[in-house]
């Protein structure tokens, strides 16, 4: 499980996260919703240490991430250690972020091959299986520029899965897509639910969040203002700003 305690982060003088506490259990799917700029994407980026944070701690299965255990001063973990930690998390970004100079297959096989030391054959075999799984068996040799946004995002999901991560972090993965392409990406995520992989999902798609999440957390002003079962948070909110937010989203 992931445990976040007292996470704080500012960009310069502007506090973005003002003390986040969150626990996500094994196999649990938690969606983070909230207004733009509320800190939900920053929280997700902190989980994978794409952003440093000023205070607080993140633990994965009890082990402290990103910073060294003990001692009074906060010291970042060694680079090699941070790389090992990152391999336990897969990230899918809003803009897909595929490497434009590599085929779909090379994109997926890159991490297993060079971060995890698989042989070329093993890595490509894994890549082929995963691309087939996201429905892109015919597009393995295509470059990102030759694929639609939905296809690129499915490659990105396969790339994240190729690391065999414990946790999947999804950052508004359908926000940049044309509406008719959203479904194919959502279908891939649905297909993962039966595998019981832990997911933290930042999204504006409330219906999708309701469908896939075990719990939904409403982030407001750098804090988790409300968290609970999807029905409770979306249908019977108690936080006034959440009520307002939900009204606007309808």
């Amino acid at each position: 499980m992931i445990e976040v305690r007292g996470l704080r982060k500012s960009f310069g003088d502007v506090p973005v996260l003002r003390g986040i506490d969150l626990a996500v259990g094994d196999g649990e799917v938690v969606s983070l919703i909230g207004r733009s700029g509320c800190g939900k994407t920053t929280l997700l980026r902190c989980l994978n240490f794409l952003e440093e944070y000023d205070a607080g701690e993140i633990r994965l299965d009890g082990r402290l991430l990103w910073y060294r255990e003990g001692g009074s001063a906060r010291r970042p973990a060694r680079e090699a250690e941070a790389r090992r930690m990152r391999q336990r998390m897969g990230v899918v970004f809003q803009q897909y972020n595929l490497f434009p100079h590599m085929t779909a297959l090379d994109n997926v096989a890159l991490g297993p091959r060079f971060s995890q030391g698989l042989s070329r054959e093993e890595a490509e075999g894994l890549g082929q299986r995963l691309l087939q799984r996201v429905g892109l068996g015919q597009k393995m040799r295509a470059y990102p520029g030759q694929l639609s946004g939905g296809q690129q995002q499915r490659v990105a999901i396969a790339r994240a899965l190729a690391m065999r991560p414990k946790v999947l972090l999804l950052d508004e993965i359908t926000s940049a897509l044309d509406p008719e392409l959203v479904g194919e990406v959502e279908d891939v995520i649905r297909s993962l639910l039966s595998e019981g992989i832990m997911m933290v999902v930042v999204t504006h798609a409330l219906a999708f969040a309701r469908e896939i999440s075990h719990r939904i957390a409403y982030v407001s002003d750098g804090r988790i203002a409300e968290i609970g079962l999807p029905g409770a948070v979306l249908d019977a909110p108690s936080d006034p700003t959440l009520k307002d937010f939900l009204r606007r989203m309808r």
């Binding site: 794409l50 100079h101 971060s115």
Partner: protein, 223 residues
């Protein structure tokens, strides 16, 4: 000597000079590119002092004429008790000059890598070697190729400056012939045509490589 024979000997001599110019340019480009790659260590160093030293080097080289640099190195080498010919001095000058220019081209290429690509690479936990070889280098090569070809073309033209330190190359050969024949415009015109042919060839080659390196719709890639 008939005018036809004279033209023939002129063209032969200029062609030989052009070959020397091309050789000087290519040799200096090779060493200059090597220098530029090495300069990326201080350019992107964690240490401010190294970054400042890099900037100082670029400023000095970029802020002074190659002509002055050539004279400086030419007179400095014997003073340092290094008995080298003008060719060695010439290659050293062009190496430093092109090294600084190419270093800035590469640095620009690194800075052009979108943040999202770094995020991707970091989230995959790629070790530094693989990150450099598989992601950074291929992207930097693509981003900086047009500017790099530009520097290659400049290298051919900059080599003409070396005639001032008695490097026998195309411009030197042209001046030699002019002194003998006094045919200023036709000889200079021919020399210019040789320079143009070389630069044009490099430009076409660069375009060709650019196309080869750009799979699919790379330029249209949003990230």
């Amino acid at each position: 000597m008939t005018s036809w024979a004279m033209l023939e000997s002129t063209v032969t001599l200029l062609a030989r000079g052009a070959l020397v110019s091309l050789w000087l340019a290519l040799a200096s480009l090779a060493t200059g590119t090597g220098l530029a790659v090495l300069l990326m260590a201080p350019a992107f160093s964690r240490f401010g002092l190294a970054r400042r030293a890099y900037r100082l080097f670029v400023w000095i080289v970029r802020g002074t004429p190659v002509l002055v640099q050539a004279l400086l190195v030419f007179y400095a080498l014997p003073a340092l008790d290094l008995r080298s010919g003008p060719y060695v001095a010439g290659v050293i000058v062009l190496t430093l000059y092109l090294g600084a220019l190419i270093a800035e081209v590469i640095r620009g290429g690194v800075l052009a890598i979108p943040r999202q690509q770094w995020d991707s690479a970091r989230s995959l936990g790629l070790p530094p070697g693989a990150l450099l070889r598989r992601v950074v280098a291929p992207l930097v090569i693509r981003y900086s190729l047009p500017a790099y070809v530009n520097v290659c073309v400049m290298a051919v033209k900059a080599s003409s400056v070396l005639s001032i330190i008695s490097v026998w190359e195309l411009t030197f050969a042209a001046r030699e012939i002019i002194e003998r024949t006094l045919a200023v415009f036709s000889v200079l015109g021919l020399a210019a045509a040789f320079y143009f042919a070389m630069c044009f060839g490099i430009d076409r080659l660069g375009r060709h490589v650019e196309r080869r390196l750009t799979p699919g719709d790379f330029a249209g890639e949003r990230t």
